[in-house]
């Protein structure tokens, strides 16, 4: 197996994957120009690409991006603080944990985002609704992972603490919490991902905010290429966010 074949093996699949998508876009472009696909339903990829620049320039995309980002950040802070606190509490009080853990797990799989009309009534059509929705959606994974991390601390480490007569508070901060950090970070990452999805989604649904609202607005204006371009932009942001947090988590895991 020569070096050339090895590199080829590594590079070829991603090339094929990317290449096939490019081919599909080209095919779609040709079909639209030929009239086989209605250009008022599917805009030509070339037009979509062209409107990227327009959308970025005209629609204040960076301001919108910043707005969405700060909503995510606020939700993220809330779900981290409350998630870890509640998780630690449930871990500490065994009865509470046994009683509530399954409920929290059920919450994690429930369609919480459907509560947004309720939040709309409570808080109005503004950022608070969006932040609260993202907070509620992302809370459960943080709680569950915090509990998991704390309870999977190796027994021997706890015994070391006891042999040094640490107080419960010291035991928590010096042994339990550091040992649980990797799992907690995984939980926070999951929570942040849910938060982003919900922020953008609810922005779209209630027509307020940054990037999500942009898509809604462009759609209501029947700006087809613009809508597609905005959707692509949001997907790109989401992918970058997901990949970055994944990289960060892996780095933390190898460091810790």
């Amino acid at each position: 197996m020569s070096a050339v074949t090895l590199t080829a093996r590594r590079v070829l699949p991603p090339l094929v994957g990317f290449g096939s998508f490019v081919l599909i876009l080209v095919a779609v472009e040709i079909l639209i120009r030929a009239g086989a696909i209605n250009r008022f339903i599917v805009p030509p990829p070339s037009e979509v690409a062209a409107s990227f620049g327009r959308v970025i320039a005209e629609e204040n995309i960076w301001r919108r991006f910043a707005f969405t980002a700060w909503e995510c950040f606020a939700a993220g802070v809330l779900l981290t603080v409350f998630g870890v606190l509640i998780g630690a509490l449930l871990h500490r009080v065994r009865v509470l944990r046994l009683a509530c853990e399954t409920w929290v797990a059920a919450m994690a799989s429930a369609p919480l985002v459907l509560l947004y009309p309720l939040l709309l009534v409570m808080f109005g059509r503004n950022a608070l609704t969006i932040i609260m929705m993202a907070f509620i959606s992302g809370l459960a994974p943080v709680i569950l992972k915090t509990i998991e991390g704390l309870s999977s601390t190796r027994r021997v480490l706890l015994n070391v603490g006891r042999s040094f007569k640490l107080t419960p508070s010291q035991q928590f901060w010096k042994i339990l919490f550091p040992s649980a950090l990797p799992a907690i970070f995984v939980g926070i990452r999951l929570g942040l991902i849910f938060a982003l999805i919900n922020v953008v989604g609810v922005e779209f649904l209630i027509n307020f905010g940054g990037l999500g609202q942009l898509i809604n607005e462009l759609a209501e204006r029947y700006d087809l290429p613009g809508t597609y371009a905005a959707i692509c932009f949001v997907v790109l942001v989401s992918v970058v966010f997901f990949a970055t947090t994944e990289r960060a988590e892996r780095w933390l895991r190898s460091a810790g």
Binding site: V16, G17, A99, S109, A110, L114, F204, V235
Partner: protein
């Protein structure tokens, strides 16, 4: 030594069970009492926190109205069809990805990174392609559930014990027999888990689409209640919705665990 430890824990389990039930009841009662106090005091503007009996009455009224069941049926139908379409295509794609490492390396990253994106933003496109009726909702449901199902099926295929495949080949099973008698049963846990997740997101996708633009369906009922500021009705609908969603999820997980119980 381990035996003794286990015995002790079994004996100790019973007092825990009672305490747990007590705590759960206390939490639920506490929440209900707090709610009622909040409603009566009018501390938040009274309409947002209706009194419990009012919600109860709305719930009864809802469950007795044929109109509700009609809309529920529409939603169930849309979710079911969306799950079927997204589930089937997810299954096929997952099988291909799991079977062929080259294709997996070429295309699976796209599924993996596109999975955790907010699918509702595709709704305008779905409306353009499938109209304002049920088609766009079904499309939302299908789009939402395709990703977790495909990824879980692909992962499931890769964790199959290779010796089982060799057994199948040594008995000269044809590809259909290999798929149905060996691959699928060996993957049943990841597949069922994928279905459970798929059901969850298909439900969310369809309902959100209904809240955005729909004449029928439970989602549209919620927005109706919102528009009329009929809070007790909104709470009633949400309660029923969540009960059904959590129930469906529990059912699928239970079904998935069934053969473990059988085998133990």
């Amino acid at each position: 030594m381990a035996e003794i430890g286990r015995l002790n824990r079994a004996r100790g389990a019973r007092p825990w069970q009672a305490a747990v039930t007590l705590v759960r009841v206390a939490i639920v009662l506490g929440a209900l009492v707090a709610w009622q106090l909040l409603a009566i005091s009018g501390w938040l503007y009274g309409e947002v926190v209706p009194a419990l009996p009012v919600i109860g009455a709305a719930l009864v009224k809802l469950l007795c109205s044929g109109d509700f069941y009609w809309n529920l049926w529409v939603t169930v139908y849309e979710v079911a069809v969306g799950l079927a379409i997204g589930g089937f295509s997810g299954l096929v794609v997952g099988l291909v990805l799991g079977a062929n490492p080259f294709i997996a390396r070429a295309y699976e990253p796209y599924l993996y990174y596109l999975g955790p994106t907010p699918k509702i933003i595709f709704f305008p496109v779905m409306i353009m392609w499938f109209g304002v009726g049920g088609g766009s909702k079904i499309a939302m449901g299908a789009l939402s559930c395709f990703f977790p199902i495909a990824l879980n099926v692909a992962a499931g295929m890769r964790q199959i014990d290779q010796v089982l495949i060799r057994v199948g080949r040594s008995f000269r099973a044809n590809p259909w027999q290999m798929a149905t008698k060996i691959y699928l049963p060996a993957m049943r846990h990841p597949v069922i888990n994928g279905l459970r997740l798929g059901l969850g997101v298909a439900l969310i996708g369809t309902l959100l689409a209904e809240t955005k633009l729909s004449k029928y369906g439970v989602g549209s009922l919620v927005m109706d209640a919102y528009a009329r500021f009929d809070m007790p009705r909104m709470y009633a609908i949400l309660i029923v919705l969540f009960a059904l969603a959590i129930g469906a999820n529990a059912l699928v997980s239970h079904f998935g665990r069934l053969d473990d119980i059988k085998q133990k």
